[in-house]
């Protein structure tokens, strides 16, 4: 409802590889994007686009608890890509495609080219507006970063998905892939845009128990502590690829952090683990903060600020 009334003012609207977002906020993959009803709540909270949980062909249980640690300065998680598999997820995607007006980006997981293609085709059939290839989850054997570490394979996957997709395809990268030569190959293979960054492989040990906390030992680091890394990655990709659509994410915990990524060069900004502390209100806070900033500074559109910090 608030969609047209509040969310749709031109000043915050952005264009992202052909998708029209009412504002630059994007729900990050793996955060609440696991059912239609949760995605609906995120839309109502104001998000400009919604990314689903990473979907694999077969159902995945994920790892045993503990799977999440609040470190105070950031978060550590090793969920293990739990998802009900494409067949079951498809019902949720269809409901979402019918009832949610915010662009929905399906996050695709796979262990090989075939799986990526199959999952992508079904996600498109279900009506999603874009695809994001998870080439970067740092703690699941045979998926994510293990695929993303093989440049040739990754390029074949991107090309294969590109060839079956009528919708924009984003390659989601980790810090390890954030090199101009790698990004250039991804874009050259058919990626329409880059999502940066995924969590960074990390672990935590409790001095009291003298054991690792996560059942999987290794997980991914997110939250405010990785933001400076995100800023550098986004800045560099924007500098090298002035026209590439970029969804910047990693450490956004309010409007100032969102603005920081936009100034570095992000067209849109992902919001993930900050929801643990701020809950869904964070979308409204970012939107209001950006709007206030624009008003105070005589900019007509948030688009004018994309990469603004690079104008030396």
């Amino acid at each position: 409802m608030g969609w047209e009334l509040e969310g749709m003012s031109l000043d915050l609207e952005v264009e992202l590889a052909g998708l029209r977002l009412r504002n630059p906020t994007v729900l990050a993959s793996g955060i609440l994007g696991s059912s239609y009803s949760l995605m609906k709540r995120v839309e109502e909270a104001g998000a400009g686009a919604i990314t689903t949980k990473t979907i694999t062909w077969e159902p995945r249980e994920g790892y045993q608890n503990p799977v999440f640690v609040d470190l105070g300065f950031g978060y550590l998680n090793a969920m293990g890509l739990p998802n009900p598999g494409m067949a079951a997820f498809k019902t949720e995607l269809k409901k979402a495609a019918e009832n949610i007006r915010t662009p929905m980006i399906a996050s695709i997981g796979g262990g090989d080219e075939g799986e990526f293609m199959k999952v992508a085709e079904h996600a498109l059939e279900a009506g999603c507006d874009g695809l994001e290839l998870n080439l970067s989850c740092p703690h699941v054997s045979g998926y994510g970063l293990e695929i993303g570490s093989d440049l040739q394979l990754t390029c074949r996957i991107i090309g294969a998905v590109r060839s079956v997709s009528s919708k924009p395809v984003f390659a989601k990268i980790s810090i390890h892939q954030a090199r101009p030569d790698v990004v250039s190959r991804y874009l050259g293979s058919g990626a329409d845009g880059i999502t940066a960054i995924n969590t960074i492989r990390a672990a935590a040990i409790s001095p009291e128990s003298m054991t690792p906390i996560l059942s999987n030992i290794f997980g991914g680091l997110s939250g405010p502590c990785i933001r400076p890394i995100t800023v550098a990655v986004v800045y560099e990709i924007r500098r090298e690829f002035p026209d590439a659509p970029i969804i910047g994410m990693g450490g956004v915990d309010g409007w100032r952090a969102a603005l920081e990524l936009i100034l570095a060069g992000a067209n849109a900004v992902g919001v993930g683990s900050a929801i643990a502390r701020r809950d869904l209100d964070i979308f409204g806070e970012i939107i209001e903060g950006l709007r206030r900033f624009l008003t105070g500074k005589d900019f007509k559109s948030i688009k004018e600020l994309v990469g603004y910090a690079q104008r030396l």
């Binding site: 609440l32 239609y36 608890n65 640690v69 809950d279």
Partner: protein
Amino acid sequence: MSYRVGKITNIRSPTNSIKEYEIILEDPIEPEPGQFAMLWIPRVGEIPLSFADAEGEYIKFIVARVGKVTSRMHDGLAIDDRVFIRGPLGRGFRQVSGGRVLLVAGGYGLAPLYFLAKRLKADGCGVKALLGFKSDEDIFHQEEFGRFGEVEVSVEHGLSGYRGTVLDLFRGMVRSGSFDKVYVCGKEELNLAVSRECLRVGVPVEASFERIIKCGAGICGSCSIEPLGLRVCKDGPILGGEAIAPILEADES
């Protein structure tokens, strides 16, 4: 933030399948009745448990033997052992002050209701508790609840108290119309049936829900009550009748 360390100061085994753990924390917390903690046993696992009591550094959990972690707790934990908890998490019961309240518990669902009864009594409410069990051997905490008000027990098989389900016992009682609020914690069917009945007779009701909880921080989506999109770990575990009304109607057929 990360885990708080607690030391077990007392363990009781009121029945074969239930243990009560009294714990002293290094730093006090202030949970509300209905809120829960994630309790971590290193190298074993981490599970959600409702606060069954709390005061200063002292907290209590009531734990039913279910599977991996709860069995390891029952078999392996001893006095002076350390446990690790994060919390309090979730939204607790909205407490009324004054008036007559009815508590409906199925099995270990009495855990959060015991803590609630204590608070309600302190706030001047008249408390009546209905405790449902499978058989005579399963009955526990009857006297404890007695400190805070009236108690009635039901067993499905046995000789004690009311013979039947706690739902039947409840149905006979709520129609009397003398309760200002009903709180229920038990299996999903009990929660839904009691909530539905309360909405029908116009008594405010809250129920404590369970789902598989993973992150406990409201972000992973694992504990969503579908198709409502309400997260047990953040929007719940305590949900009012109105919030769950859509599933009550859908379930009725």
